[in-house]
């Protein structure tokens, strides 16, 4: 009970729970529709989803300020790529929240003449751009860690580096193959190289759970604006499942703060 009290006192935590519930309703609605259930039940699920969505919009009313503060903090980062990615991502999130607030005002009736579709599209565009920058940041971190991992494993197996190429070495800076077998050995060589890269990627992600979690979260999230903007329509069921998965992952980062990717 103590942990629930601590959890729910954070404004963000409850919002994540309701996000999970909202996308669960989306998924449930799709499943019920496919299963051919009653109109009444479908209507109730849809109504619940709309209610949660509108309430979450209400709860997000101050988040632009938070995102701008986060952008101000990200400007002081030492790494230039991280600095760029995170600052622009936070600014885009601030714009997304601003559009979201306008949408809320429209849905509530404060701005009855608002073009809701236009503002909805606008908000999803900012959201998509923020997610793409987050994914770029994830890819950059993975790249750095893979290079570091390759260097450490390269240094470890230095004695056997000049020997004939073998998968057990695990080094990327492979010496050029012998010229006589060059045209014949290129395909197995490439597959071997990709195999090593994947193995390295697996090692890096396994040893960095915050990065893995962030990558999975962003990858799941990106399908939502892609579907809503019509760039890559996947359908309500898939969107619901992705939204639910990313909400559960972000609840994990709140419950276990060490799982949150820093900065």
């Amino acid at each position: 009970m103590d942990s629930w009290v601590r959890f729910s006192s954070q404004s963000q935590a409850k919002e994540r729970v309701f996000r999970a519930a909202q996308y669960a309703c989306t998924l449930l609605g799709y499943t019920l529709q496919q299963g051919g259930s009653g109109v009444q039940l479908l209507k109730m699920v849809k109504q619940l989803e709309t209610h949660m969505s509108l309430t979450r919009k209400l709860m997000r009313l101050g988040n632009s300020a938070e995102a701008v503060e986060a952008a101000k903090r990200a400007v002081h980062l030492s790494d230039s790529v991280l600095r760029l990615c995170l600052t622009v991502a936070h600014l885009n999130k601030a714009m997304y929240f601003a559009c979201d607030n306008v949408l809320w005002a429209g849905k509530v009736g404060l701005l009855p003449k608002l073009d809701q579709d236009k503002w909805s599209q606008r908000s999803f565009r900012y959201y998509l751009f923020a997610l793409m920058l987050n994914l770029t940041r994830d890819a950059y971190e993975i790249r750095l860690l893979m290079e570091r991992e390759a260097r450490t494993s390269h240094g470890g197996s230095n004695a056997t580096w000049t020997s004939s190429p073998s998968p057990e070495n695990g080094d990327l800076s492979h010496p050029h193959p012998s010229s006589s077998s060059f045209p014949v050995a290129i395909l197995p060589l490439l597959s071997e190289r990709f195999g090593r890269q994947f193995h390295l990627l697996g090692t890096v992600l396994r040893s960095n759970p915050p990065l893995l979690l962030d990558l999975l979260k962003n990858a799941c999230d990106v399908f939502i604006p892609l579907d809503r903007l019509g760039i890559y329509p996947t359908g309500q069921g898939f969107v619901g499942a992705c939204g639910l998965a990313s909400s559960v992952l972000s609840i994990l980062t709140i419950v276990h703060p060490w799982l949150k990717l820093k900065p």
């Binding site: 009970m1 109730m44 209400l58 101050g62 938070e66 503060e69 404060l110």
Partner: protein, 246 residues
């Protein structure tokens, strides 16, 4: 901006802002009820108020657990009066939240067979009881402070000075009343957190009193009282030293 972010990061902070807006809408709606030129604004305010109310109900969904946890903690207090008042107040708040959750489920359509009016009255009753217990606690703390003050020599000197300084007719005729009021105001001034909590509870109590039909005021009074108590609540969140302990 940083203080705004810190404030709204707390779940309670945001809820207080929305409560303030909700009751401000109720008050303005009442003030404009006869103004035919502002009918559109009244409709907008009604929509905003009901939206905030239903949103806040959704976000209150887990608060029963919080109240039960608070009741468990207040059960450990040493002072028996405080222990009784606060534990009963917290239990009543937990019951209020349960009724509130049922009402939310009814509003959303999850349980259509519920008697909305009866559950709404139950919720108001539990809320009223928790406010009564909170006010009892406030009166007890103020009384304790007043008794403590009368025993202080420094305060006795201050009292004598006050009584001698004001040779008005009223104070001469009713010196005890004047002395009592002076003692009361001095005690309240020295404990701002208790004063704030007392004012907040007094303002809040008009809401269930109107709802239960015990003391029917009008929507304007309810809106005004709710607005004042929400603003006082915001002050106590902004300045944690002004929050009454325990």
């Amino acid at each position: 901006m940083e203080s705004f972010v810190k404030f709204t990061n707390q779940s309670q902070g945001r809820d207080r802002i929305f409560r303030t807006t909700q009751y401000a809408c109720a008050l303005v709606k009442y003030l404009l009820r006869n103004n035919s030129a502002r009918k559109e604004l009244v409709v907008k305010l009604q929509s905003l108020e009901s939206n905030m109310s239903s949103g806040r109900k959704l976000f209150r969904l887990g608060n029963t657990v919080n109240s039960i946890d608070a009741a468990k903690r207040t059960l450990q207090l040493s002072d028996p009066v405080l222990r009784l008042c606060l534990t009963v107040a917290n239990i009543n708040r937990a019951l209020y939240f349960i009724c509130d959750n049922v009402l939310w489920a009814r509003n959303v359509g999850l349980v259509p067979g519920i008697d909305k009016e009866r559950w709404s009255l139950n919720a108001s009753c539990c809320y009223f009881m928790s406010l009564v217990m909170s006010l009892t606690r406030d009166v007890y703390v103020i009384t304790q402070t007043m008794v403590q003050r009368t025993r202080e020599r420094q305060f006795q000197e201050k009292m004598d000075q006050h009584l001698n300084d004001n040779p008005d007719v009223a104070t001469v005729i009713v010196p005890q009343l004047d002395a009592f009021l002076f003692l009361l105001f001095q005690s309240l001034k020295s404990h701002p957190s208790v004063t704030l909590d007392t004012l907040k509870n007094i303002c809040d109590i008009f809401i269930p009193l109107d709802r239960l039909g015990v003391y029917r005021s009008n929507p304007g009074v309810v809106g005004f009282c709710g607005l004042i108590s929400s603003l006082l609540g915001i002050v106590s969140v902004l300045h944690p030293s002004l929050k009454i302990q325990p």
